[in-house]
Symmetry: C2
Subunit: 520 residues, 2 copies
C-alpha cells in the first residue's frame, strides 16, 4: 500500500495522531474498533502509514501488542472501543504491565458533548483503564491530541517500559485543527550502576542465590557472565517463574526458574541465606495458601537489591563480573534423547519439541502444567527466544504469538498452549490466519484445568463430583482441530509421539499458521 | 445431587456465604473460578446447595447470569477470579447494569496478608469493579463475610435491580468463623404512582409519544392498556431501542421500537411536540455524530416523566388508563406470508423465524443489522419473551441464551446472533453443550461488521481497502458450524430459505443445543 507521508495543511485530530505516532516509529496498529474509533480507521486508511491487524476480541488485540513489543523492542498502538472494549483487553494489558512491556492504547470514548446523556455504552473509561495501565489520560482538544499521544508514547517507552492508555472522545478525532507533534525525547536514561557492587561480590557464595530477570535474560552475554560469576563463587543463578523474554538455547547459557508450585518453590529457595537481586523483586508466591508464607526466600535471608526493576541489569552484571574477575561461561547443554514411540507424556512432548525447534524460533509459553518439562529440555535446542505469561492472567499465548509473528515475520513461532487457557482468546487463531502468521500452536490437551486441581488440594479440599466438574473440560471434549479449521487455520490431532514428531516437523517446514492438538 | 441443608457447628467463610445465598433463594452459580475461589468450589461441592455452571471465559459467566436473571426474575451468583477475570466479565456486567438486571458477583482476591507483595496477579480489584457495578464492597472478615453477601444480594434486588460486586480475599473463604446470615429484607418498596397522572392524560394527543420500557414491557396487560390509551387519544406508543425483556407475540399487544440508525431515529421522533416517559429516560443516540444531535426528541419537545426508571411503570399505566377511562386493547397482528424459496435476505429470514417460533419460546436478540426485520415480523408469532443487548457491549447473545435456558429449561431458546458479535463470547457454546441447554443459535452470517460500515460513512469517510479490511470478516471466512462442532454443539449451514426452514423446524423440535449458520 502506498504511504502518504506529507501531512495536509488541514487535518482532523485522528490524522494528526496517526501521523505523529508513525513519525515516532510506531508501525503497527492492533485494532478492534467500534463507532467511536471510525475516524482512526479512516485516517489509517487514507494515510497508509501503519500495518493494521484486526482482532475479533480485544484480548487478542492487547495480547498481540504485548507480543509485538517483546520481540520488536518498541510498542504498537491498539484501538479499543469504550469502557467495555477496554475491559475486554484488560487481562492482557495486565500481563504486559507486569512484564514491563511497552504498549500505547487508544480508547475511543463518546464525544465530549454526548457524555452527559448516559447513552447505552456510557461508563467510566478512565476508571476501567487505571487498574491495568501505568499512565492514563483523556485527551481534551483536537489541537493537543497528537501531543497527548506523544506523551503516552513517551510514558510507554520510559524505563522500565509501561502500559499507557490515552482516551479519545470521538469528536477530537473528527474535529479539524489536528497538529502533528514531534516524537518524544529518548527514554529516560537508566540509573547508573549502583555502588553496591563490592558488597554484592562479597555476599556471593554457595549459600547465595543471584535472582535475575528483565533485560538481563534477553542478553546472552549477560547470562554467560552470570554463569562465570556462579562458577567462581559457588552462588546459584535463578530467574523468577515469569519473565518477559529469554534468549537462550544451544551456545547460550541457560538459567533455571523458580518453580510455580508453592512447595517446590519453597524447597528450591530453602538453602539460601543471602540473595542478590538484579532487575527483579524478592520472589513472591503466586497465591497465598493456608500455612504457607507469601515470601519465598527463607526467613532471615539477607537481600541486596543490586539493580532494581528500573535499573540497568546487564551493566550491573558486567560490573559484578569485573569486580570478581569472572569470565563469561556457557555451560554445556545437551538435547534430551530422541523420544521413543509411545503415548504423549510430559517428558516425551518436551523432548519432541526440543528436537523440532528450528534456529531463531520464538517460543510462546502458556503451557501451564502440561509443558512443565519443556524449559529444561530445550536448553540445548537451537537458539531461540522464549516469551511467556507474565501477569498470571491466562489467555495470553495465542495473542502473544500473533504479535511476535507480526514483529518478526522471518522467525518461526511455536506456541506451547494449555487447552483451558487457549479458550479465553481462541479468536486469535483467525487473526493468525488472516495475517498468514508463521505460528504453530501446540495444544497440550489434558482436558482439565489441571493446575486448579492442585490448588484445590492445596486449600485442603477433598473434591467430589461437583468440584471436579468445575475443573474438568472433558464434558464435552473440545475439538481444537475443528476450532482451528473454523477460523482458517489448518490443524491436526496427534495421539502418540510419532504423530507428534511428524506434525511438528511439517509445521516447522511450512510457512503460515498451523495447530497441533496433542492428547496427553 | 444431595443437598446438605444443616449448617455444621463450625464452618469457614466460604461455606457461610454459600449457605446464606442459598437460604435467600439463590439457586445457580455461574463460574470461572481460579485459585482464589477454590474454597467456594469446595463449599459448593460439599453442600450441594446450588447448580454450578462452568464458563470457559468470564464474559460467558456474567452474560449467562444476566440472561438467567431476566428470565428467573432473581439473581444468580457468579464466581470470578481477581481483577483480570473481573475485567473479562466487565462487558456483560455493563449490559446487565444498563438493563437493570440483578447480579451478584463474588470476586476472589489475594489473601489479605498477601496483598502487599505485588504477586503477578495483583491489581486493583475494586477499581476494576466500579465502572461496571452499582455496588462494590471488599469483605473484611470470615465472620462478617455472609452478612456482606446478603448486603450485596439486597443491593442487587433493590428497585431498580442492580449489579453488586463483593470482593473476597481468599483467606476469608478458608478462615473458620463463618456465620450464616439471614436473607435480606424484601426489596425497597417502589415509589407510589406519581401525581402527574392527570397532567400526563392532558398531554396525550396525536403529537404525543408515550415512551415506555422496564417492567412495563414484560407485562402484557400493561402493554394492552397502553394501546387502549393510544386508541383513545391518538398518542403513539414506542419503546427504546434496547430493553431488558419484552413479553409479546400473538394475543399480546406489540410496541414498535425507536430505530438504532441515527437518521431513522430522528425521523421517527420528529413528529412529536410532547413526550410522556414511563420507566425510561429521554431517548439518546447510541453515539454522537458530526452534525447530529445527541438527544433524539425534537428540540422544544415538552417531556413529562410519569414514572422514573425506579418507578412502578405498570401502576402508572393503569392509573393513566383509569384517568382516561381507556380499556385494554390488543391490535390484530398477522404473520408475514410464508417466505418463498430463494436466497436468505432480511425479509425472508424474518418470515422464516416468525413461522418457526414455537409457543413460549425465548428469543435472544443480538442480531444487530442482520435481524432488522425480525422484530416486526414476529409480532404475530406464537407468544414469546424477547431479551436483547441492553448496554451496547457486543458479545452478549450466546451467554444470555445459556442463562435463559438454565432459568427456564422447559422453554425453547432461539438466539438471533450476528456473526461479528458472536466471536466475542463464542466459548459459551461449550457451556450450552455441557448443560444440554435447549438453545438454537442462528448465526446471521453476513461476514462483515456491517453496522460499522454504516458508521464509517456516518463520520464522512470514503473508505478504501485498508478501512474495509478492518470491518470485513471474510478473509478468512469463519466456519461457525466447525466452531460449534468443536465445542460439542451440532450444527448446519444453510444457504437458501428452504434449507433454513427445514433446519429451524428440526432445531425447534429437538431438545439440546444446535447452531444454524445462515449465509446472507
Amino acid at each position: 500500500m502506498s504511504q502518504d507521508l506529507s501531512p495536509p495543511k488541514e487535518m482532523n485530530g485522528a490524522e494528526s495522531v496517526v501521523r505523529s505516532l508513525h513519525g515516532a516509529g510506531v508501525e503497527v496498529c492492533f485494532a478492534n474498533p467500534g463507532t467511536s474509533e471510525m475516524q482512526f480507521v479512516d485516517a489509517l486508511d487514507r494515510t497508509g502509514l501503519m500495518r493494521c491487524v484486526l482482532g475479533l476480541f480485544e484480548g487478542v488485540v492487547t495480547g498481540a501488542a504485548d507480543g509485538y513489543a517483546r520481540m520488536a523492542g518498541k510498542p504498537a498502538v491498539t484501538l479499543l472501543h469504550l469502557a467495555p472494549g477496554l475491559a475486554n483487553g484488560g487481562a492482557n494489558m495486565h500481563n504486559a504491565r507486569k512484564g514491563r512491556s511497552p504498549m500505547v492504547n487508544l480508547v475511543g470514548d463518546h464525544a465530549v458533548r454526548h457524555r452527559g446523556y448516559d447513552a447505552p455504552l456510557t461508563a467510566d473509561v478512565e476508571g476501567a483503564a487505571r487498574p491495568f495501565s501505568d499512565w492514563v489520560r483523556t485527551a481534551s482538544s483536537a489541537e493537543g491530541f497528537a501531543a497527548d499521544a506523544m506523551d503516552a508514547l513517551a510514558a510507554a517507552q520510559s524505563y522500565p517500559n509501561k502500559v499507557a492508555t490515552l482516551i479519545a472522545p470521538a469528536d477530537l478525532g473528527w474535529d479539524p485543527g489536528g497538529v502533528v507533534a514531534p516524537p518524544p525525547m529518548a527514554a529516560t536514561p537508566v540509573p547508573p550502576v549502583p555502588e553496591d557492587v563490592r558488597k554484592a561480590a562479597e555476599m556471593l557464595g554457595p549459600e547465595t542465590v543471584l535472582l535475575v530477570s528483565g533485560s538481563v535474560l534477553a542478553d546472552p552475554q549477560a547470562v554467560a557472565r552470570l554463569h562465570g560469576i556462579a562458577a567462581q563463587t559457588g552462588a546459584r543463578v535463578l530467574a523468577p517463574t515469569s519473565n518477559r523474554r529469554f534468549d537462550r538455547g544451544a551456545g547460550r547459557a541457560g538459567i533455571a526458574k523458580v518453580p510455580y508450585p508453592i512447595n517446590l518453590a519453597l524447597e528450591t529457595l530453602a538453602p539460601f541465606t543471602r540473595a542478590v537481586l538484579i532487575e527483579t523483586v524478592p520472589p513472591v508466591a503466586f497465591f497465598a495458601y493456608p500455612g504457607r508464607p507469601s515470601l519465598l526466600l527463607p526467613e532471615g535471608c539477607e537481600v541486596l537489591n543490586l539493580a532494581g526493576t528500573d535499573g540497568d541489569g546487564p551493566a550491573a552484571v558486567a560490573a559484578l563480573a569485573t569486580e570478581l574477575g569472572a569470565t563469561p561461561h556457557v555451560p554445556e547443554a545437551t538435547l534430551p534423547p530422541v523420544p521413543q514411540p509411545g503415548p504423549i507424556r510430559h517428558e516425551t512432548i518436551a523432548a519432541a519439541i526440543a528436537h523440532a525447534l528450528p534456529e531463531t524460533a520464538i517460543v510462546v509459553d502458556e503451557s501451564i502444567t502440561g509443558g512443565r518439562d519443556v524449559w529444561g529440555a530445550t536448553q540445548g535446542a537451537a537458539p531461540h527466544s522464549w516469551i511467556s505469561l507474565t501477569g498470571g492472567a491466562i489467555g495470553d499465548g495465542i495473542p502473544l504469538a500473533l504479535g511476535a509473528a507480526v514483529a518478526c515475520p522471518e522467525r518461526p513461532v511455536l506456541t506451547l498452549q494449555a487447552d483451558g487457557s487457549a479458550m479465553y482468546t481462541i479468536q486469535g487463531l483467525w487473526s493468525q490466519a488472516r495475517e498468514g502468521a508463521n505460528v504453530t500452536t501446540l495444544i497440550f490437551a489434558n482436558r482439565t484445568y489441571e493446575i486448579l486441581k492442585t490448588e484445590l488440594f492445596a486449600v485442603g479440599a477433598n473434591p467430589g463430583r461437583s468440584a471436579l466438574d468445575m475443573l474438568d473440560l472433558d464434558r464435552p471434549n473440545i475439538d481444537f482441530t475443528a476450532l482451528a479449521k473454523g477460523m482458517g487455520v489448518p490443524a491436526v490431532r496427534v495421539e502418540c509421539v510419532a504423530e507428534l514428531q511428524r506434525a511438528l516437523s511439517a509445521a516447522m517446514a511450512e510457512p503460515g499458521p498451523m495447530l497441533i492438538e496433542a492428547l496427553m
